[in-house]
Amino acid sequence: MPVYYYIFLAVALFSIGVIGVLTRRNAIIVFMCVELMLNAANLLLVAFSKMHYQLSGATNPHAAGDAQIFVFFIMIVAAAEVSVGLAIIVMMYRNTHSVDVNFLNRLKN
């Protein structure tokens, strides 16, 4: 499959994520959209890693996973982020009985 299929998919996923973050007020959905953007990036990393491995004609099979290591990093970071982020959202709901992000503008002024 040509690499641009992956690129289109990743761009589509990323754009959905961006639009979701921009338009939705519900903190949980915003959160999910952020995850979507991260995964779009992951998809691209995997796709390019594979592509460059094939193009370079390398013979060492271990080299194929070099860039894909980053994907695991990102997934770990995302998991950590989820745990912290969800905790924040829970606390927010407890205090304000709402998960509307626009409600949280207390830092203003």
Binding site: L22, V30, V101, N102, L107, K108
Partner: protein, 637 residues
């Protein structure tokens, strides 16, 4: 000769020592000690000056180098003294008259507290020191040191009674007007330095005479001499800078005699006589000097006609006589001008000291309308004063006659119009001096009973200088008897010949026929005699009246309103300008701009701050836009 040169530094150094002793020891020294030290140092300086005088008679000039005042790659100024005929003559006048006035002061100032007495003598000694530097310096910079120094001492002595703010204002006025002149002097020195690279007299004069070598243009010489003359108008109280001198009478009377009559105010004449070669080469400047000198002489004489303060009359008379000297310089009669400096020093110091003696006896009263009939009470003062009046009025054979006659003859040779105005001024001089004499000494006493009771002849310390000066005022002119009376009688001219030799070569000498000279003399003497008799007749029976001056008399009594004029065209506009700068330019424009920048920054940040809305969505949107912009830049640029 060489022996004398080795000790000439003592002449100014001794008064400096006197200043230091009296100044630092003012809390410990008794009045007697102060007086002895103050006068003693001047006496010793005088004795050395006499030796110097006789040693330079041979005609040689000696320059003594002490140390380098400034010695750099671009400027060399030595702390040098020059002794020649001109400076030795001035040395005699300064230390001689100075000594007499010191002696006089010991009695005149006796009512002051000991420390103020010491302060007075310290200032007086400092003045003599500065004046000696002025005449002994061998270059213009040393002269300038003395030049400003005498201005300082004049300031300190006019404001000696510093409790009185009028006196302080007079002192300040004197200093500032002198400073205006000093600026002219300084600029002239810079000009000389720039063109010739030196200010040493002998080098400057040699270069000036040799215009080919020095490349001085006529413009340069005229500019330099005019600026020097501006300096002289400040120090020697000529139009337009003369108004400080009458105000300077706020100082103690001996100070008026020493500084504002006999010595300091003649510094301008000394300077021009010293630089005579420069002035001879600048005929334009000479014309300006002659006209300004004569105008000053007339103006001051007219004002003197209507003054009632005894010291004010003498002050305006001094301004007028100084105008004569400048007339002499302007017409090239250098010897005549210097001669008049000398005779004027004698008779004007005598008149001031006599006036001081009168004021002393009157208990501080200076208004002549309250005097009268004093000849009964103070005979020595009276006689000496009369001699002084005759001398200044130009009666032969008193000293004033010879010197004034020489200047007038010079003026006639240049331009008879100058002579006519000069002679008329001489008549006015005779008039106001005898008005002064008659109102003070004859008629009957018009003061209060207390004052009358208090009237007495002054003590010996006051009358002794009066007598000496009176003798000098009578015979002082005999060293300059004109050729028409006696061949070789003008010993002063022969003595000063080396100084003015260069000028005499350049300027053609007009010799008046003897018959003309006799006629001129006859006219001036006869006229003066008539006016003085008229004044005597009119004022010897003067009665006090409350009559207010009207018309022209009022203008004269108010000194032609020159002070008011200066106030409205110079002082006030300058103050308004200063206020404008202070209140508008400084506070609104410059600081307004600076603070405006600050305000603009404040305002801008307040506006930009609104971007921080606190809405997460806005931040994200901006972020996305930012990313898009970066993409676009990356793709298309």
């Amino acid at each position: 000769m060489t022996n004398i040169v080795q000790i000439i530094w003592l002449i100014p150094f001794l008064p400096l020592i006197g200043f230091l002793i009296n100044g630092l020891g003012r809390n410990f020294l008794s009045k007697t000690a102060t007086g002895v030290i103050g006068s003693g140092v001047i006496l010793i300086s005088f004795l050395i000056s006499v030796l110097v005088f006789f040693s330079v008679k041979g005609g040689n000039t000696e320059v003594a180098h002490y140390f380098n005042f400034i010695n750099t790659g671009s400027l060399k100024v030595g702390f040098d003294f020059q002794i020649d005929q001109l400076s030795s003559l001035f040395l005699l006048i300064i230390t001689g008259v100075g000594f007499l006035i010191h002696v006089y002061s010991t009695s005149y100032m006796h009512e002051e507290e000991a420390k103020d007495f010491a302060k007075y003598f310290a200032y007086l000694n400092l003045f003599v020191f500065s004046m000696l530097l002025l005449v002994m310096g061998a270059n213009y910079i040393i002269m300038f040191i003395g030049w400003e120094g005498v201005g300082l001492c004049s300031y300190l002595l006019i404001g000696y009674w510093f409790k009185n703010n009028d006196y302080n204002n007079a002192a300040k006025k004197a200093f500032i007007m002198n400073r205006i002149g000093d600026l002219g002097f300084l600029l002239a020195v810079f000009w000389l330095l720039n063109k010739l690279g030196t200010t040493d007299y002998h080098q400057v004069f040699a270069l000036v005479a040799d215009t080919q070598k020095s490349q001085l243009t006529a413009f340069d010489i005229t500019g330099i001499t005019l600026l020097l003359f501006v300096g002289a108008t400040g120090k020697s109280a000529q139009i337009p800078l003369y108004t400080w001198l009458p105000d300077a009478m706020a100082g103690p009377t001996p100070v008026s005699a020493l500084i504002h009559a006999a010595t300091m105010v003649t510094a301008g004449i000394y300077m021009i006589a010293r630089s005579n070669i420069l002035f001879t080469m600048a005929p334009t400047t000479q014309g300006v000097i002659a006209v300004i000198g004569l105008a000053t002489a007339v103006l001051a004489a007219t004002i003197a006609l209507k003054q009632n303060d005894i010291k004010k009359v003498l002050a305006y008379s001094t301004v007028s006589q100084l105008g004569y000297m400048f007339l002499g310089l302007g017409v090239g009669a250098y010897t005549g001008a210097v001669f008049h400096v000398m005779t004027h020093a004698f008779f004007k110091a005598l008149l001031f000291l006599g006036a001081g003696s009168v004021i002393h006896a009157m208990g501080g009263e200076q208004d002549m309308r309250n005097m009268g009939g004093l000849k009964k009470y103070m005979s020595i003062t009276h006689i000496t004063f009369l001699l002084g009046c005759l001398a200044i009025a130009g009666m032969p054979p008193f000293s004033g006659f010879f010197s004034k006659d020489e200047i007038l003859a010079g003026a006639f040779a240049k331009n008879p119009v100058l002579w006519v105005v000069g002679v008329l001024t001489a008549f006015m001089t005779a008039f106001y001096m005898f008005r002064l004499y008659a109102m003070t000494f004859s008629g009957k006493f018009r003061g209060t009973h207390d004052q009358e009771h208090h009237l007495h002849e002054s003590p010996a310390a006051i009358t002794f200088p009066l007598i000496i000066l009176a003798i000098l005022a009578v015979i002082g002119g005999w060293i300059g008897i004109p050729e028409v009376f006696m061949h070789g009688g003008h010993r002063l001219e022969a003595f000063l010949e080396p100084i003015f030799a260069q000028s005499n070569v350049i300027a053609e000498k007009h010799e008046l026929p003897h018959s003309t000279e006799y006629i001129l003399m006859a006219i001036s003497v006869a006229g003066a005699l008539l006016t003085l008799l008229y004044a005597w007749n009119k004022f010897s029976k003067y009665e006090k009246s409350e009559e207010v001056e009207t018309g022209f008399g009022k203008v004269l009594a108010n000194k032609w309103y020159v002070d008011e004029l200066y106030d409205s065209i110079i002082v006030r506009p300058l103050r308004s300008l200063a206020a404008f700068f202070n209140n508008v330019v400084e506070k609104n424009i410059i600081d307004g701009f600076v603070n405006g920048v600050g305000k603009a920054v404040n305002y801008g940040s307040r506006q930009i701050r609104l971007l921080q809305s606190g809405q997460v969505g806005t931040y994200v949107l901006l972020m996305v836009f930012g990313m898009l912009v970066l993409f676009i830049i990356q793709l298309f640029l």
